[in-house]
Structure formats: C-alpha cells, structure tokens
Symmetry: C2
Subunit: 249 residues, 2 copies
C-alpha cells in the first residue's frame, strides 16, 4: 500500500513545487494536500492554529510534511507566534495523538543565520537565529526533538536555504549563493526525508541546500543520514549567467 | 552609581532566594522586584504577557533578571505558550526598546534533559528538551541569541539544574544529584551573570549546577566566561546524609 502523506501549506511556494514533483513519481504516495483553503479535489481545508482540526486531518496518515507557516523572515512576532510556534506545536501534538509515524518539518537556514558569514554551520552547533522568524524555526526544531525522543514520532527538521529557480540567479546575494537550494534538489531531499530509515535515531536536523561550491551550511548529515545527492551548484549557475550576460547581444 | 536590576518573578522560589542574597551585598544594586502582585514597597506589579507594561517597567534599568514563567515541567502547553514563550519575547523586546544593557534569562536543564542520562551535556550541543517546558526554555535561549547578536542586548541564558536546599537531599533522584544546584551557588552565579564582561561576545549559555562529583551538565563555560566558582557537591551531601541516617539514633 502506498504511504499516505499529508502536506500542510501545500499551496505555498515550496508546497506547490513539492506536489508537482511527487506527482511525477507514478502515484507512489497517496497525497492529502492541506492549506487554508481547498480548491481542487485532493485538497483539504486546514488551519493549523486549530488543534482539533489537525487531529481530524491526520487520521490514517503515515507522514506529515509540515510546510505551513508565516513565510516572511521580516514578519512581526505577533503574526509569527500563533502560527509558526502555536501551529507547529498543534501539528506535532496532533501527529502524536493520531499515530502519525513521522513529521518532516520545514525549518530554515534563518535558524542559524546569526553566525558570522564565513562560518560553515554544522547541524551539531547550537541555533543562532538572524530574526524572529528564525527563532520560531529554532523552536520548531525543539518541538521536533521533543516529540521524536519523548513521544516516538520520528522527525526530520530540514533547514531550507534560499529556494530560487536557477534562472533567477541574478536575484541572489553572495549569502544566497552559498545557501541556495535548487527546487529539484529540495524536492528530492523531501522524498529522502519520507523514505529514510530512522529506527536507530528517530530525529535528524538536516541542511537543505544544493551542492554549491561554497556552502554556508554543511551537508554531511543530509548525505549520511538521508543519502541526499544534490546536483546543482549555484556558483556554476552564477558563472555561466555572468558569462552569457557579458557576451555581446 | 549602583546598577539598577529588575527581577521578574521576584517572589518565586528562585527569585526569593536571589533577593535575599542580593540584600546581603551592602546595597550594591538598586533592586526593582517585579511579580504578578506587589506586596511591599520595593515590589512592582508586572504581568510579562503585557508588552507595554514591560516597556514601562524597564525604563532606566541596567539589567533584567528574567525568572518569571510557568515553573512546572509538567504544565500543559496551553499554559506555557503565552507566558514562557510570549512573555519571554515581551521581556527581550521591551528590554531592547527600553535600552536595557543585559538580560539574564532563567533557562533550565530541561532544555537538554532528553539526552541519554549518561551523556554529559556541553553548552555547544543542540538542545534536546525532555518536555514542553524544556521546549519553551530552548525557545527562550533562541530569543536570547537573537537579541544579543542582532539587537545588541547582552544576554546570558542560565540552564538552572535541580534547585533544592542541601537539607532536602533525600528528595533528590540520581539525576537530580548530578544536576543539583545549591541555592547559594546559584545566587553567586547570578551575580557573576550581572557582572561578567560580555563585550567580546554578547551572548552566553551557561550551566547552573553545583560542583557535583558527577555532572550532568558541563561547567566549562560557566567557569571560563563568568568565573563561576561553585562550592557545593551533591555527592558529598548525599554520602554524609546516608551515613548519618544509618547511625543508630
């Protein structure tokens, strides 16, 4: 039987890309797409600030991929608290109560972005958020560790880097280049988060960036624990883009 | 001029001990004692879930010692969220807005208590909370890192161990013994948190336990960054207690 996967925030930027990717995989998964409003048949309405609604939605689900949240690093804390912290608690609480086996949590590179810019951050270092959004993601990682080790819900927290199409290389800053994640690489990383064997160790923090020549976030754990094999490299994308841009028209 | 120190949760278990200790120091500090209700002259009413009230209370304060919070590791998350997370945000936000130089935050050993019991935890390891109270303390540490590095409010997060009088040694479990903090040691640690020079590095996580023969939490950073010199050792307290208890009456 195919695994039942519920995605929160399925209509968001990353959610849409992930759903398109999973749809190419020959119906390997039974997908439930949750977001604040439902448009097509596969979608269900879910407000993660409603714990009872999360419990209902998670019945008979194997894995929850939790992408829903206030996505802006600049959002005021009053907006972040109920959704990114309260809502993430609800997602884990409901997953535990409903017998969900695994939660894959969309954390963010913002959880560690306060380190000096020339430091390569490893997953075994303490968090150092750059902003209050990053604080909320650090808090989500703490929920994940709690529910994995204390309540038996396997959990992977993916610190997602700068999610941009390669064609948008001109929008990327130096920091973004070193933290870039190609959408295709990230989608494949999420599949590995669903499939990885976590029986020995029920929790992982992994970094979600591409195979960039210079890396803000170390990929050792993503490779070792999940078998992640990123393909893209922002620096070659950038170099080729610059070269083409400098050619006479 | 003496430093102005505001203590939140001043009437709590640790707050009361700390105030008594600071009162022995020849009026070295100008104290403002904040709690939900004010009883004597030095006390002010402050509900940390009220951001505007925090801003008012923090005017002309040099250092805030933030002890207020739901103290029970077993508290339901609905009780913890607004006070330990929302309230701690308010304390840091108001401190930053009011120009407070430093916040000393009462974190807890519960933030790392999910590690296997024979692991000695260092401050450079990721959090692993044992309960939702511990998650809220981990979140408080993330606030502290954010406000220290990004908004210039110096911050020390003290992971407080098992705070018990030595005379209550019979109440202590094996875990408590290795995480015990004698009230006198903890009070002296708080003074060092007020006095330490943090100009080179504006943030520290330090462990607040005594000089126990076996330590659940490593004290290297407490000693190196603050000059902490704990005096008590739970294991000798325990041994002496057992010895006396086994003597004929």
């Amino acid at each position: 039987m195919p695994k039942t996967i519920l995605i929160t925030g399925a209509r968001g930027r990353i959610g849409s890309a992930l759903v398109s990717h999973l749809d190419t995989l020959d119906e390997r998964y039974d997908l439930r797409l949750a977001d604040l409003d439902a448009v097509d048949k596969r979608e269900i309405e879910l407000d993660i600030t409603n714990l009872a609604a999360c419990r209902d939605a998670f019945k008979d689900v194997d894995t929850v991929i939790h992408l829903a949240g206030v996505p802006s690093p600049e959002a005021p804390f009053e907006a972040i608290l109920p959704v990114n912290i309260g809502g993430t608690y609800n997602v884990f609480r409901a997953a535990s109560d409903a017998g969900v086996s695994r939660v894959v949590f969309a954390s963010s590179a913002q959880a560690i972005e306060g380190y000096p810019l020339d430091v390569q951050v490893r997953t075994d270092m303490p968090v150092r958020p750059k902003n209050l959004y990053g604080v909320s993601k650090a808090c989500g990682e703490a929920f994940a560790a709690y529910f994995a080790y204390q309540e038996g819900v396997e959990a992977v927290a993916v610190r997602i880097g700068a999610f941009e199409q390669a064609s948008d290389w001109q929008r990327m800053s130096e920091r973004d280049l070193s933290a870039w994640v190609d959408p295709q690489d990230l989608c494949e990383l999420f599949v590995r988060c669903i499939e990885a064997d976590l029986r020995e160790e029920p929790f992982a923090i992994v970094h979600g960036i591409s195979d960039n020549r210079f890396k803000r976030l170390d990929l050792s754990d993503s490779r070792a624990r999940l078998g992640y094999e990123p393909k893209a490299d922002s620096f070659s994308v950038w170099r080729v883009g610059l070269y083409n841009a400098s050619e006479p028209a």
